[in-house]
C-alpha cells in the first residue's frame, strides 16, 4: 500500500450476496469526491464460481461511465493512476468488503451467559459476524443439548471465551471438551479445518489446547476478552476474527484468493466496515451516532455512544427482521395489530396476511399501489422498532473496549447491565436499506425513522445515498481524510432534523415554544428562500414541519414548558444549529414513549394528519 499522500484515485467494491457495487473516488481541487458508481451481479455461485468476475464487471461499468480506463487486457485493475496517451488510466488503491456467500457465520461460547459469553458475542458482532448461537454453561440447556446444537450448526469459526485471568479454569475447559467431540461440520466441506479462537482465561489455554488437539480443528489463542470482571478487551479477539476470516473463510470462497491478492488493504466483512466508518465519524465529530441497515432478511443496528468519556461501539444483527425473506417473521413477532396502527387506510386482515406471505415467497416484488407502500412502511417501522429494542438491550454498560468499573458495578450488572443507548444524547441517525433509501419521498424515510427510533432532543436524520458506508469503512483504514470527505459530501443525504421533547403531555396543552431562523449561506449554500423562519408555540400531540432545504442550516431556540426536557434538563431552553434536508425541521411533540390513539378511527385520523404534515402523503 502506497503513501496516503500520493493517493488521488480510489476504486472500492463491496461484494454483496447478490450485487457487487463499485465506486470511484477522485481527488478534485484538493477534496475527495465519489464520482461514479457501477454494479454487476455477484459471481460467487455456480456457474461462475469466481468473485473476481463480478468485481471486474462492476469496475468495467465504472470505467465506461468515468472514461478512465481501470481494467487492463488481462482483466486486472490498473495501478497506479496516471495519464497515458493523454487519457487518465488506473487508480492508486483498490479496496473491498465482502458479505457474499452469507457473510461470516460464527458460533460463540463462554462460561456465564451475561458475562463472558456476552462479551464474546459483542466481539463477534463487532467484527461483522452473524452469531448463529451462543453456548454458555448457564444457558439452561443440558450439556448433551448443547453438544447437539454444536453438531447441527455449520459455523465458519468458533470463538470460545470464559473465565477471568487467574480465575476458575474448569468451566471453560469443559466447554472446549464439549466442542472437540461434537465435531461441528464447517460450511466449506470435509477438508476444511474449523478455526477455533480461544480468548478466555489465559491459565486455561494449555488445557484448552489439549482438549481441542483433535483432527479437523485449527486452534488459535489470543488475549482474554474479559481479563477481569470489570474489564472488557475485545480488540485482540476481533483482530483475530478478521485474520481468520481472511486466512480460512475467504480463502475457501471461490475466487477470493485472487481478490485478496488484488486489494491494497485487507478485505473486511461488510458490516465490520460499516461499524468502522460510524466510529470514525463519531470520533472525529465528537458525536453519538446510530446507523441502521434494513435488508430483506436481517436488520443491522450500529451505535456509538459516549460512556464515561469514551466512545463505545456496539452492533447487533436482528437475524429474522427484514422486509422480504423475513417479512412474515416481523408480522409474527410484532403482531399484525402493532403494524396496522401505522396504517391509515382500510385494509382487510385476511388479504394482508396473504400479501405478507406472498412477499415472503416472491421477495423481489415491489409495492405498486399507495396501499401496498403504506403497509410495507408500516412493517418497516415495526421491524426497525424491534431491532432497535434488541440493540438497546444488548448495548449495555460493560461493553466496548477497556472500560474500568468498580466491583460494585459488576454485581449490579449481573442481570444484564444498563443500556448505554440514550435517545436524548443521539446526534445523528443514519438509515440504509431498500425500504428506507428507496422510499419515494424522503419525508417517508424521515417519518419511519422518527416513529421507530423515537429520537429525543435534537437529532439529525440522514440516509446513506447508495450504501457507500462499507467502502468508506475500509477507506478510512487507509486514508481517513478521504473517507470523511466523501462521507460528508456524497454519502449522506440529509433528511433534516428532528426536535422532540422527552416525556408525555395531554394533547393540545402547551409543550414548547420555538424559534427557527435560517442561517443565510450556511455550508456554502445560497439562501434560496426554501427555508422559512418560524416562531411560535407548539402544543403536545403534534408533528410540525418547518421547511429547511438540504445544505441549509438554521439557528433553533426551543423553550420547553416547566418539567419538559429537550436536552438541557426539565424546563431549560436549548439553542442549537440544526441542519436542513428534504423533510426540513420536524418538531415532534407526540410524546415519548410514542403512543397512538387507542380508538381506530381517531388513530387513523392522527396517522394521516402526521403523514400529511410531514409530506409523506398528499
Amino acid at each position: 500500500m502506497g503513501d496516503p499522500r500520493t493517493i488521488r484515485v480510489v476504486v472500492a467494491t463491496d461484494c454483496g450476496s447478490t450485487t457487487t457495487k463499485a465506486i470511484l473516488i477522485e481527488e478534485q481541487e484538493g477534496v475527495f469526491r465519489q464520482t461514479h458508481r457501477g454494479e454487476a451481479p455477484t459471481t460467487v455461485e455456480a456457474p461462475f464460481a469466481d468473485v473476481t468476475i463480478g468485481v471486474i464487471n462492476a469496475v468495467t461499468e465504472l470505467q465506461e461511465l468515468s472514461g478512465r480506463r481501470l481494467v487492463d487486457d488481462e482483466g486486472r485493475i490498473i495501478r497506479p493512476a496516471r495519464m497515458e496517451n493523454g487519457r487518465p488510466i488506473g487508480c492508486d488503491i483498490y479496496i473491498s468488503t465482502s458479505s457474499a456467500g452469507g457473510g461470516l457465520q460464527m458460533m460463540v461460547a463462554g462460561v456465564v451467559r451475561e458475562m463472558t459469553a456476552a462479551s464474546a458475542k459483542r466481539a463477534a458482532l463487532g467484527a461483522g459476524a452473524i452469531v448463529m448461537d451462543t453456548i454458555a454453561s448457564n444457558d439452561r440447556r443440558r450439556p448433551h443439548e448443547q453438544i447437539q446444537r454444536i453438531r447441527e450448526l455449520r459455523p465458519d469459526m468458533i470463538l470460545v471465551s470464559g473465565g477471568t485471568d487467574g480465575g476458575d479454569m474448569k468451566k471453560v475447559v469443559e466447554i472446549a471438551e464439549l466442542i472437540a467431540p461434537a465435531r461441528p461440520q464447517p460450511r466449506f466441506g470435509g477438508k476444511y479445518e474449523l478455526p477455533v479462537i480461544f480468548a478466555g482465561n489465559r491459565d486455561a489455554a494449555s488445557a484448552v489446547r489439549d482438549a481441542l488437539a483433535v483432527p479437523g480443528i485449527a486452534l488459535s489463542v489470543v488475549d482474554n476478552l474479559r481479563p477481569t470482571l470489570e474489564q472488557e478487551n475485545l480488540g485482540p479477539a476481533r483482530d483475530r476474527i478478521h485474520d481468520v476470516f481472511l486466512e480460512h473463510v475467504m480463502a475457501h470462497a471461490p475466487g477470493y484468493d485472487r481478490l485478496m491478492a488484488w486489494t491494497d488493504a485487507p478485505i473486511m466483512p461488510t458490516p465490520g466496515a460499516v461499524g468502522d466508518i460510524l466510529q470514525t465519524i463519531a470520533r472525529r465529530r465528537g458525536i453519538n451516532a446510530v446507523g441502521v441497515d434494513i435488508g430483506g432478511a436481517t436488520t443491522d443496528v450500529f451505535s456509538v455512544f459516549s460512556h464515561e468519556g469514551a466512545p463505545v461501539f456496539n452492533r447487533t444483527v436482528s437475524a429474522n427482521l427484514g422486509m422480504s425473506y423475513s417479512i412474515s417473521n416481523v408480522c409474527a413477532e410484532a403482531g399484525l395489530d402493532a403494524i396496522m396502527r401505522w396504517v391509515h387506510l382500510p385494509m382487510d386482515d385476511r388479504e394482508l396476511r396473504n400479501r405478507v406471505k406472498n412477499k415472503m415467497i416472491r421477495p423481489t416484488t415491489i409495492p405498486q399501489t399507495v396501499e401496498a407502500l403504506v403497509f410495507e412502511q408500516a412493517v418497516a417501522r415495526e421491524a426497525l422498532r424491534l431491532a432497535y429494542q434488541q440493540h438497546k438491550e444488548f448495548a449495555t454498560t460493560l461493553s466496548g473496549v477497556q472500560q474500568q468499573r468498580t466491583v460494585g458495578d459488576t454485581f449490579s450488572q449481573s442481570s444484564g447491565g444498563r443500556t448505554i443507548v440514550d435517545s436524548m444524547a443521539l446526534d445523528l441517525l443514519v438509515a440504509s436499506g431498500g425500504v428506507l433509501s428507496h422510499a419515494p419521498r424522503p419525508a417517508q424515510t424521515a417519518l419511519m425513522l422518527i416513529d421507530s427510533f423515537e429520537p429525543e432532543g435534537f437529532t439529525t436524520l440522514a440516509k446513506d445515498s447508495i450504501f457507500m458506508m462499507p467502502h468508506l469503512g475500509v477507506l478510512a483504514s487507509v486514508h481517513e481524510r478521504a473517507a470523511m470527505e466523501v462521507f460528508e459530501r456524497d454519502c449522506l443525504v440529509h433528511l433534516g432534523t428532528c426536535i422532540a421533547p422527552r416525556g408525555e403531555g395531554r394533547e393540545g396543552k402547551p409543550c414548547l415554544s420555538c424559534r427557527i431562523e435560517p442561517v443565510a449561506g450556511a455550508n456554502g449554500a445560497a439562501d434560496d428562500g426554501s427555508g422559512a423562519a418560524f416562531s411560535g408555540e407548539i402544543p403536545w400531540g403534534e408533528l410540525r414541519r418547518i421547511p429547511l432545504a438540504e445544505g441549509q442550516e438554521a439557528s433553533a431556540r426551543v423553550e420547553p414548558v416547566r418539567g419538559v426536557d429537550v436536552g438541557a434538563g426539565p424546563g431549560k431552553p436549548v439553542e442549537r444549529r440544526v441542519r436542513g434536508g428534504a423533510a426540513g425541521i420536524v418538531i415532534d411533540t407526540r410524546g415519548r414513549p410514542l403512543r397512538l390513539p387507542e380508538e381506530r378511527s381517531a388513530r387513523c385520523a392522527a396517522v394521516a394528519r402526521w403523514m400529511k404534515e410531514i409530506g409523506a402523503i398528499d
Partner: protein, 376 residues
C-alpha cells in the same frame, strides 16, 4: 431494447433432470455408475457418530478432577452399559467408597483430568439416503453420494411444507380453479399424490392427513389455514422438516388463486404415474422450491429430453406472464408493451414497467419485478 429477463417456475412436460443425493457425513455408497434405481431405493448409508453424554465424574465422586483418571474403571475407547459402575474412589481404609454409574450406554470418548468430565458416546445412528428420483446413476461420488439422471415431467411449486414423499398421481378437482374441498378426498387416495385445483383449506388438509395422503398439490392456500395446520405462524420460508403428516406443494401462492392451467393440464395427463414430491422450500441464497417429479421413459429417438433450462427467460412482446403482486395478483396475460423509461407507479416509486393485456382485452401497467414468466 424491448426485452428483459425475469425468473419463472419450471413446469415441463419433459426435461432431463439431475438430482444430487448426498450423505450428511462420509459413508458407503451402495450403487455404482450406470445403476438403474427406483425412487425408494436406498443408495447410500452412513453411521452418524452417536449422541454424547457428558458426566461430571469429579463432582459425582466428590473428588478432585486430577484424580478422576485414576478412579476410572473403564478407559477411553472402552464400552460401558447404562448404570454400570465406571468409577470408584479408594475410600478411607477401603471403606466409604464413592461410585459413579454410567448415565448412558456407549463407549468412553474422553476422560479429563482438567475438569473431571467424562464423555460417553452412544451407539452410532444409521443414516440412509434414498434415490428420490427413479433413474440412472450418472456420477457416483465415493463415500458421499450419487448424481441421478432421468427424463421427467417436472412441476415446481412456489411454496411447500413437509419433506420427500412418493405416490401415484391422483386428481381430486375437475378444474384448475376448483377449490380442493374435504369432500373431494376419498379413502382410496391413501398413499397417493393428490392434485387439487384452486385454494386448499385447513379442513381438506386435515382430511388428507387422516386418510393418509402422501402429498397434496394445489394452487393456493390462505395464511390463516397454514397457521392452523402447522400450529404456529411460519416466520421464514425455510421449510421441509415439518412433521405434519403429509407433504404440501402450493403452485401459485397465498390466497384465492387457481392453479395455472398449464400446470393443471400437465398433472392431469400424468394421472396414475408414480411420482416423487418434496415440499422443501428455501427462499434465500441457493433458492429451493417445492416440486413434483414424474419419471418418464426415455424418448423414442434415444436422445431423451433436452436438459433443464435455468428457469430464467426472455421477456418480450407476446410473452405470457403472471402478475405476482397486488392489485392484480394471480392474473395471467401477455406482455403488450415494454416501455424503456422508468414509470411513476401509484405508490410514487419510479420503476421499470411493462404492460400486460388480459384475454378480456383490458391492459394494465405493472412493475417488471412483479411478473413471472409462464413457459409455454
Amino acid at each position: 431494447m424491448a426485452t428483459a429477463y425475469t425468473p419463472g417456475l419450471k413446469v415441463a412436460a419433459r426435461t432431463r433432470h439431475r438430482v444430487r443425493r448426498m450423505l450428511p457425513i462420509a459413508g458407503e455408497v451402495l450403487v455404482g455408475q450406470g445403476a438403474v434405481v427406483a425412487a425408494r431405493d436406498v443408495i447410500a448409508r452412513a453411521a452418524m457418530p452417536g449422541d454424547l453424554t457428558p458426566m461430571n465424574v469429579a463432582s459425582l465422586l466428590g473428588a478432585q478432577p486430577a484424580d478422576v483418571p485414576e478412579f476410572m474403571l473403564r478407559r477411553e475407547g472402552e464400552r460401558v452399559e447404562l448404570n454400570e459402575v465406571i468409577a470408584r474412589t479408594r475410600g478411607i481404609f477401603g471403606m466409604f467408597k464413592a461410585e459413579c454409574r454410567a448415565k448412558a450406554s456407549g463407549t468412553i470418548e474422553s476422560i479429563s483430568a482438567a475438569t473431571g468430565q467424562v464423555i460417553i458416546r452412544g451407539p452410532s445412528l444409521p443414516v440412509e439416503v434414498r434415490a428420490y428420483l427413479a433413474g440412472k446413476v450418472v456420477e457416483p461420488i465415493p463415500e458421499e453420494g450419487v448424481v441421478i439422471e432421468a427424463d421427467v415431467a417436472l412441476v415446481q411449486g412456489i411454496f411447500g411444507i413437509g419433506g420427500e414423499a412418493f405416490g401415484t398421481i391422483r386428481l381430486a378437482c375437475a378444474r384448475p380453479d376448483e377449490p380442493l374441498q374435504e369432500e373431494l378426498l376419498r379413502p382410496e387416495m391413501a398413499g397417493q399424490i393428490v392434485v387439487g385445483g384452486g385454494r386448499v383449506g385447513v379442513q381438506a388438509l386435515r382430511k388428507a392427513r387422516e386418510i393418509g395422503v402422501a402429498a397434496v398439490v394445489s394452487g393456493g392456500l390462505d395464511d390463516s389455514d397454514l397457521r392452523e395446520f402447522l400450529g404456529y405462524d411460519l416466520g421464514v420460508a425455510i421449510t421441509g422438516s415439518e412433521q405434519v403428516g403429509l407433504t404440501l406443494v402450493i403452485t401459485e401462492g397465498f390466497g384465492e388463486i387457481a392453479m395455472a392451467e398449464r400446470t393443471y393440464r400437465l398433472l392431469r395427463s400424468l394421472e396414475g404415474h408414480e411420482a416423487s414430491a418434496n415440499g422443501a422450500t428455501q427462499i434465500r441464497a441457493g433458492v429451493m422450491r417445492p416440486e413434483v417429479i414424474v419419471p418418464l421413459p426415455s424418448g423414442s429417438d434415444g436422445r431423451g429430453a433436452p436438459p433443464e433450462s435455468s428457469g430464467a427467460g426472455l421477456l418480450e412482446i407476446g410473452t405470457p406472464v403472471r402478475i405476482v403482486r397486488d392489485p392484480h395478483f394471480g392474473l395471467i396475460g401477455r406482455v403488450s408493451a415494454l416501455p424503456e423509461q422508468p414509470y411513476v407507479l401509484g405508490s410514487g416509486s419510479k420503476a421499470r414497467v411493462l404492460e400486460v393485456r388480459f384475454d378480456s382485452g383490458e391492459a394494465v401497467v405493472v412493475p417488471r419485478a412483479n411478473v413471472e414468466l409462464i413457459e409455454e
